[in-house]
Amino acid sequence: MNMLLWNLFDCVLALLALVLGWRVVSSHDLKRAVVLFIAFGLLMSLIWARLAAPDLALAEAAIGAGLTGALLLSALRQQPASSESPVRSLMDVYGSLVLVLVLGGVMAWALFAAPGMVQGSSSNNPIYLQLEQSGVSNPVTAVLLNFRAYDTLLEIAVLFCVAIGVLAFGRERQHVMPAGPLLGVLMRVLVPLLVVMSSYLLWVGAHAPGGAFQAGAVLAAAGILLHLGGMPTLGMPGPLNLRWLLIAGLACFLLVGLATMLNGASFLTYPQAWTSVLILLIETGAVLSIAATLVLAYRGGGAPLDQPQGEGSHEERL
């Protein structure tokens, strides 16, 4: 009975995700598609929680639904009112439809029908077996910052690349909405709360769901809120300091990695006694860079270098 209920719940969630995804893709109205996409992100977050992936649930809610949604909505604001729909031939539509359906069918057959698909027991999973040596007790953080830290290094490099891209091609947007009194109240309550929560997520990531990415996304939300509330200089430091924030994550990562090589070990082999501290150091740098990059992307670009510098920033105060 219990099992049946779970299956029913699973089917409802999975179908809902599929239908929402289809509506996002097939919607002709971009505004509707973006709003549906945000809802889709929240649904995915629910699914991650169901599938015993709380780290992902947090990250999806903050990054997937929250910040991607914010980026898309702000991009939408400048979309021309009526975008002409290009004329497509039936051949185009059905050609690619048939193609992807065949692809899906073949993949489903290979994954689920033909012999295959091995799900090992987690009791002999090397990640759990070696968790004690990793310096943290949250297995996802252990993979991200110790076992497969090199992946994360390259990922932070991807983020850095996009930050330079935004600096190169974007111009800072002036916000149009006048900040009402309520927004001020909301800001005064939420911004400190978000900053505290971000530090908490960063700290707790070592032994419970959380970590640098979630923390960075939450901090970025604080910066975006300040921007919306008409205080862009408070949310973001001046262009010079901004550069330091953008490089913080990758710099910490690389310097730690190269420093560990000094005593002959391979790249990113932390000395046993220092593991937790080094991981926290790298994560702190990553939080600053992630937050700065995402706020920068939301604002649509950096202020030109000659502009007077803003005073303090939350990122700096952290």
Binding site: V24, V25, V100
Partner: protein
């Protein structure tokens, strides 16, 4: 195989395919970026469904970490696409 793995795996596969279809259509850039995001969510769902080991066992954390990496890569790519699109549109207006 667990039924949850099957259900969510198929759903993820469906999302991957649907997103791919959307990304290959000659629509506006923003619509195609949305489709790519849906598609990558589908691939992530396949991975996480694979990692699930039932309610009484710990899941495989490796796919979770991979998906977390993937999520950050996805938002990075989206951010770059949006800033280029805006620049392109401004250029068209001039």
């Amino acid at each position: 195989m667990l039924s949850a793995t099957l259900i969510y795996g198929l759903s993820g596969l469906g999302l991957f395919v649907v997103g791919l279809y959307g990304a290959l259509r000659p629509e506006s850039l923003l619509a195609r970026v949305l489709a790519v995001n849906v598609s990558s969510a589908g691939v992530f769902l396949m991975l996480v469904a694979l990692a699930y080991r039932g309610n009484d066992q710990l899941p495989d954390p490796l796919p979770h970490a991979l998906v977390l990496t993937g999520l950050v890569v996805a938002i990075s790519a989206t951010a770059l696409a949006l800033v280029l699109e805006r620049r392109l549109r401004e250029w068209g207006d001039d």
